[in-house]
Symmetry: D3
Subunit: 308 residues, 6 copies
């Protein structure tokens, strides 16, 4: 599908690849602000300060389900990190990657004029969705707040979807808004979560933030969050909680294994086994199984390149 | 997925496997009540009085479509036995089995206290969804009224889904509410109809009835109804109407066969063939075809084990 | 509006005015069950065991707003006692009274037959909405679970509405379903909360419970709850919490009085006064005001007839 | 599925196969009216005047996506030719064919009486959905305005769906209403777009127009429009715009090819390539590629039988 | 509010005030057709054939409620004559008058061109909503099918609303679509039922029928139907059923009077009085009351001018 | 209603009344930024740079209707300045004032921690809705983006509503979210537009911006916009367009006056008068009327104090 899809957009510091523009960073964060606002991040950062969850953890996250994120986050006070109700492009394919956030507002000519004047002055040309898309890194998931818009709220068609797939190594896309050219996109092997598909080009909107905190439905997303999607919906995991989540998920996986083995024996009612075995002997059996399997699993992490 | 999923629940007589608790059967039916309330049941019953549609009829039902149930029930005055609008786990896989019903209400601490005091006194421990799930028999479809609840209305995750699959021989699940861990459940080969999938554990609800009449959307379901689900939705067929439905479906199947053979000839307008051939010669041809095929089909039932 | 509105209905013990029918009390509660299930009730009871919140407390409740109930109930673990989304007949007129509950299910001829056979045997004739309506007492609010039904879910038209107004001394009506003849009802001075108004008569439904626990949307209602409705929605207050609610509301009312007096002075930012004065002198002033006003108010209760 | 599905229907001139009935053409168009109302049609016509987009163009349209229709129609002032929100029977299978339109209204006995009196007088017997279905030609897509009806708005079950598949050479079906017997239809290889599936037979409706302008949601459809459906939704393309659309789509396809080749090189940001290359040398390269590929593609059309 | 509100519109015979245009009557009915399609009309007709329910009957209808129409119509097979879900401008003010129907479709430039060419040829100028509005007669209710449109589906603003009020003697407006300038209209004393209010002017639509059968939601409306609206919704009563409805309503009114008198005595349960007194003596009392009151009421009709 | 309603909130420079905090202005605009982003403002400004539409223009705006704003804004490219679907507290009372904007996001503990650390450092104490409310000036309308939240999204109860009424001189409130204590608020004489009313206190949210651009549904609002609400919905008018709107509204008012006078004469069809008189003599009459009345009206502005 063709069509330039130029649209009004906000002045911003493209920290990765563009010269600094002084104090004009209205709609993005400076590196210092990014660091301050994601101070709990335990990992490295991108040059613009965005947290960089390590690749090895990303890979471990791929084995999760949404329930296993839920097992940790609300208990830590993070009750607004999940959103569902999306159309899912490839329901069997997990979405995992680092959030690159993008915020839009309905177009206002006065605001649009100011923003583009700044952009021109900074040598960025006219702002468009492509300005942000061209900043994506491998492992990034583009997370777009398009306030649920259908017609005109189409962040990409098949060509830009293809570009994102190349640029992010197929990490993925989450848009509280729309895509266009679902027919062309359906055959591409990158996870995507969207509200609608519509043939219109993006329009009547304005970029108001790049890599700022955004709302996706009832969730608050920070740049650098680990985005996780499965058949149910999408979780935005703060970097500091990624390791607790995947460590706990190991235990859950082993518990599941053991539970089903026991169910397969056909001798027990569910309550005798699950959540916790009622028979002390069984409980002991489980605990030993858990210990042994955990050791096996943890060993594989240590031997994996890029582990920490 | 792990998590004890304990929840408030009602005192009940677990007629299959648990000691009788005198006159305390508030939220389930005694065997006598069950028999009275399902007096038209023409088949055997479970020990607790629940009608037991024979296995052979269940197998014949598997060949039906919802339209073929519709062909009989409303005409008999049963206009409220169908419900749709579900998410269907495996759209190509028919759901057939005997209704085991479960009713929930929003949690109230005062009601919860009374119910659990009774349950403790009866040696049942704390009530939970597992109390009911552990009563399921082969061929049972668990039918759950969770008043359409999303978050917190998750009757099972993948472990209990697995247990139900084992316990019912993969008969199935219908919940006017939610499941959790769709990701884990998606690979399991049991039919399921549900409103939402959500990562939360079941909570903020209370069991108010086991094997009592329940509402699933706009349908009234009795324990022992034959539950039938296809790509459109779910029918709850009173036991007394199962045989009329499947017998009539044989005729419809033969009529479909013949109609399509005629359409394949390419010589007729649809009205000349369907519903009833307008040409007397064709009508006679059809009637002879019907008679012959019915005899063939009926012969197979007679030879089948468990037929009646 | 005329029309007999006879409908299928459940056998029940009309404990107030009808002979006892042995152990057949399937769809209502015996007096003993009612007492057990409302054991925390601190007040007198009706002959059938239903809690009877005193008239004096009902009168005090009339001064409340929904916020003042919210101030107490969730903190006591009662998070499912509120429901909104109703059409409100007279938005400026408070609804206050004791819950008389009624539960319907979609009609099933087999269940209907059993129920009416029992009713005939008990000399109750054919069951209808009027069977329950004729049991209403002064101060009762009829609370009807008609599962949100529009057409056919019309619990009353203008004549029965008029009868209820006479029988309950205009206490009120809450129906998760419909009324008919809104045109005729609009001029009658009784509070009513309903989902729809539709010209059809009640039909295609069956009474499945009288004075049993019912669901009104996401709330659980017990017979004898104090029903409170204002412009926002309806609260169902367990009898044991009525006094804590109204006592706390006295404090809130006085706090409101004082806060607004201070705001009227025009000298303060809102944070200096509300929730708690930041200036210790002001805080002391408020506390003395509160103490004095509470004494004045409490005195009026003591002098009121029927106080306790 | 069986069941005669007779329903009230409007008197009409079945121009293809039925004798003319004088001035009785109330609810269809005479040949002259059809020609007048589709005057911009550049192609041949059916005997009743309905535009007949050539088969070769239909085949070329099969390669389109909805975006490529959108690229032309709104710019020509046709902003109301697209509708979505359908259930799609076979999401991967394109729908392409000539619109045969059908309009229903809720049943009124007085109108029904007049219409059927006329139909009887014209020798058409009682009107039904089959009256229209029997007029379908190869390449026709049946487009039905059933005002979104679920229950009772079921234009076909599996037998008539099968008949349409045979009669239209599997061109397809679009219904702003329902189908029944989704279970039986799911295995048939014809594209279909519908709002609901319900087990009920068509009823409580009346045919009010055959091959008249109809509304499908927010779109206006004329008989003879080229109907195009993909994974997003359905476009109704006026015959005069079919060739501009497919010609422009050739350019878009080539532009997509080239864009992705360049993206595959991994050397460019998206803005450097798409929409238009910023580097003049690249731009020239693209233009030469476009010219060469267009020539290749256009050659294939010339050699194809039935091209024009 | 100002703004010419010109819009695309269909060629039509303005039978009341405009010269005849030969056989061009595509989108309206000829007088003969109107008579044929409303053949059961027992009353006089307008010059264009539209039924003219007498003024005296219109006045009697004003005392009705929707329930009293429901008491007759479905029993006569007219189950699709009621629609609700409207915003009601003056809930306490009854809507009564003769239907003048108007149908719109989403704009298509090709259809628009043909229609306006015809209109120009007939000397009608460019078609607009005002073309139809200028044909309204005293006692007419304008009934507009604008397919539920919000923005752009605004049939009138305050000036044209004012004109309609003058032209119809404040009979009223029903639009399955929108009005604009609710602020200006709110103070005008004519009943109106509409879906939305929006500031936009009417646009992007085309008139496709004047005084033809139209759909208003799930109801079918014929020109000349008696339109009745109260607080619940709107009924479209076929002329032949107006007298049966109002005659039966007299009985209902008397029954209501008597029922409430009896309820006021406070001696009876509702079932003893309503629907039918169970005590034979009371029944006799009622029957005599009914007879006496009916005679009184009927006398007033005879003496009224314009009665029949 | 009482309750401190403390909630998580963003660090901000309270430019009106609080000391400057260096470069910490992340979630509000500096004075320079405010001026840059509202550069087209033709009027004075508040100390923080927010445009200050003059009081005299505010008064003239009070005579408008939404249609009269619509007559100017879309034509100037401002198509996203209107939002409806609100509950309106006092439908007959116009809302007019200067936008003071407030933006919330779902609570995240990490973000909340950073924000409150900054707030503490700046001596602002813990952030809450009251932090912003205490900055309101006479004539301000509080415009709150609470992303449509019901439970927990309650910006104010009756006490803070009362405070706002005092502080803004009853200018008003628009919240894309909720209020609590509708019962207490209903009697207060300030216009308010809200989505829901709910008894819960505000919670589970975090302030992310004060006087920044915000989204209210599909509209973009800038601090200092003139907010206008009537019975239909709310318009956010950029300061530079206020005078064109009210000047044009004068013409519309006069046109309405004249149109209705002519309609009252009863001699004309609507098209002869409206939009433009077809008779040249009438047209001339209108133009003279317009000129004379405009002069009269404009004279009153000149004599009014505070005019410009």
């Amino acid at each position: 599908m063709r069509g330039p899809a130029r649209l009004a957009a906000a002045s911003l510091v493209a920290a990765v690849a563009l010269p600094v523009i002084g104090h004009a960073q209205l709609f993005t964060l400076t590196r210092d602000q990014m660091i301050e606002y994601t101070a709990q991040n335990p990992f490295e950062r991108f040059p613009d300060g965005r947290p960089k969850v390590p690749d090895a953890l990303i890979e471990r996250t791929r084995a999760l389900s949404a329930e296993e994120v839920f097992a940790i986050l609300p208990g830590k006070g993070f009750r607004n990190q999940y959103e569902d109700g999306f159309q899912i492009l490839h329901p069997g394919k997990k979405l995992v990657g680092r959030a690159f956030t993008l915020q839009f507002m309905p177009l206002r000519p006065d605001l649009d004029g100011v923003i583009n004047a700044r952009a021109q002055a900074a040598g960025l040309g006219r702002m468009s969705n492509q300005t942000a898309i061209d900043m994506l890194q491998p492992g990034d998931v583009l997370v777009v707040d398009l306030f649920g818009q259908g017609e005109g709220g189409t962040i990409v068609g098949d060509n830009l979807f293809y570009y994102i797939m190349k640029a992010t190594k197929a990490a993925g896309l989450v848009v509280d808004g729309s895509i266009r050219d679902l027919e062309g996109i359906a055959g591409m092997d990158m996870p995507a979560y969207f509200r609608h598909a519509h043939p219109s080009a993006i329009g009547n909107v304005i970029i108001s933030g790049i890599n700022v905190p955004v709302r996706i439905g009832k969730a608050t997303v920070m740049p650098g969050d680990l985005v996780f999607g499965d058949r149910e919906g999408v979780y935005f995991i703060p970097p500091a909680l990624v390791e607790p989540v995947v460590d706990n998920a190991d235990v859950i996986h082993i518990h599941d294994e053991w539970t089903r083995m026991k169910f397969d024996e056909g001798k027990y009612k569910s309550r005798e086994i699950y959540g916790t075995p009622t028979d002390p002997a069984l409980k002991k059996e489980y605990e030993e199984y858990l210990k042994k399997r955990l050791e096996e699993i943890r060993k594989t992490y240590k031997s994996a390149p890029g582990s920490h």
